[in-house]
Amino acid sequence: MTAAAFATLALLAGSDPGSAAPQVAEPPAAAVQATQQPERGAPPTGESLEAQTRELASKLRCVVCQGLSIEDSPSELAREMKGVIREQLAAGRTPEEVTEYFVARYGEFVLLAPEPRGFNLVVYLAPVLALLGGAGFLALRIRSWVARPEDGVTDLSVDDDDAFLDREAYFDDGALFDDDVPEGVASARHETTDRRDG
């Protein structure tokens, strides 16, 4: 179970987030050349420049209000920053280069989506981890809950209250660890298992 979960995580870490955000940190020179070549030709103008500016501005964080993107922020500095984006794009810089300009000055803080590497991976992996962990836990619990009614029917007629309470306590405790089963309960459990199987 855990091995499978970690394998899935490793796959997610390897494939998913890398492609999601633009790679600012030193991309290989060849790759930069390849991706930038077509845009080098003609800088955007008019509506396409506005669209590119808006797109980039919505990915960068306003450093004054900090919870908003430059696109959404009403602050003066955000407006000026949007102006910087527009100027640089119009001068023929690629969106990656403009992003890099801001990261060089304000750090990764300006990226609304942090780069998926190093400590940042916690943000990307923790939810997946919690989800898988929760699903695993639920699966185990459901298995023990499903096993209960059958036992309950026979148990209710048992006179020995102590044995019943013991078993109740054991299942309430969560049947996560097989070797934790108290002596008497263990045998009772094996009995029911045998009955069901037979």
Binding site: V63, V64, Q66, E76, L77, E80, M81, G83, V84, V103, A104, R105, Y106, G107, F109, V122, D173, G174, L176, F177, D180
Partner: protein
């Protein structure tokens, strides 16, 4: 309650608590600029009329006459303290005396002080400087905040210490104190002397 459940709880809780504890030590509003340590961004800004200016430092225009701008390039070999301020900035009031004292004290040691007006009108700035009792160093105008953004500024006051080689040595967020100003300038001057 058995020990394995307890152990599971601890194993789950410890990393989460550690993460939260780490978060407590961080100021979520502070922005660490990667700029200090590298070259300071160049600038060329107009002088705010009415503030004392060293005519010799003005960038000469194409026809050879002195213009009205100051550029960082012309300050190679000197230490530059660039202080972004505004008349609407409350913390700047406290800091103004520190800067003015510093500018007097380090004038003959090759340190240049400049104020840079941030998102404010020249009239307001002049009135404010007068209200503060005047200043011995010039202030510069940055009308569209381009220089502020170039320096990674996110609020006022912020001060930038530029070494004689043009390196951005130190960025100070918030009002400067006499102690910090003296310590940083002495460090930079000692470093450049050796």
């Amino acid at each position: 309650m058995n020990w394995k459940r307890g152990a599971t709880g601890v194993i789950l809780a410890v990393p989460i608590l550690a993460l939260l504890l780490f978060g407590l030590g961080q100021d979520p509003r502070a922005i660490q600029s990667p700029l200090p340590g590298g070259d300071a961004p160049g600038f060329r800004l107009a002088v705010l009329d009415g503030t004392p200016t060293d005519r010799a430092m003005l960038v000469t225009t194409a026809d050879g006459s002195p213009g009205d701008t100051i550029s960082l390039e012309a300050h190679r070999g000197e230490v530059v303290v660039l202080n972004f301020f505004a008349s609407w900035c409350v913390a700047c009031r406290v800091e103004h005396g520190v800067l003015d004292r510093g500018a007097r004290r380090y004038a003959d040691r090759g340190v240049r002080f400049y104020g840079v007006l941030y998102q404010d009108s020249p009239e307001n700035a002049l009135r404010w400087i007068r209200a503060m009792g005047g200043q011995v160093y010039p202030s510069l105008l940055d009308p569209s905040s381009r220089t502020a953004i170039d320096f990674g500024l996110y609020g006022v006051p912020e001060s930038y210490f530029i070494g004689p080689e043009g390196t951005l040595v130190y960025k100070h967020v918030g009002p400067l104190t006499d102690e910090v100003l003296t310590r940083k300038l002495d460090e930079i001057l000692a470093g450049s002397a050796s």
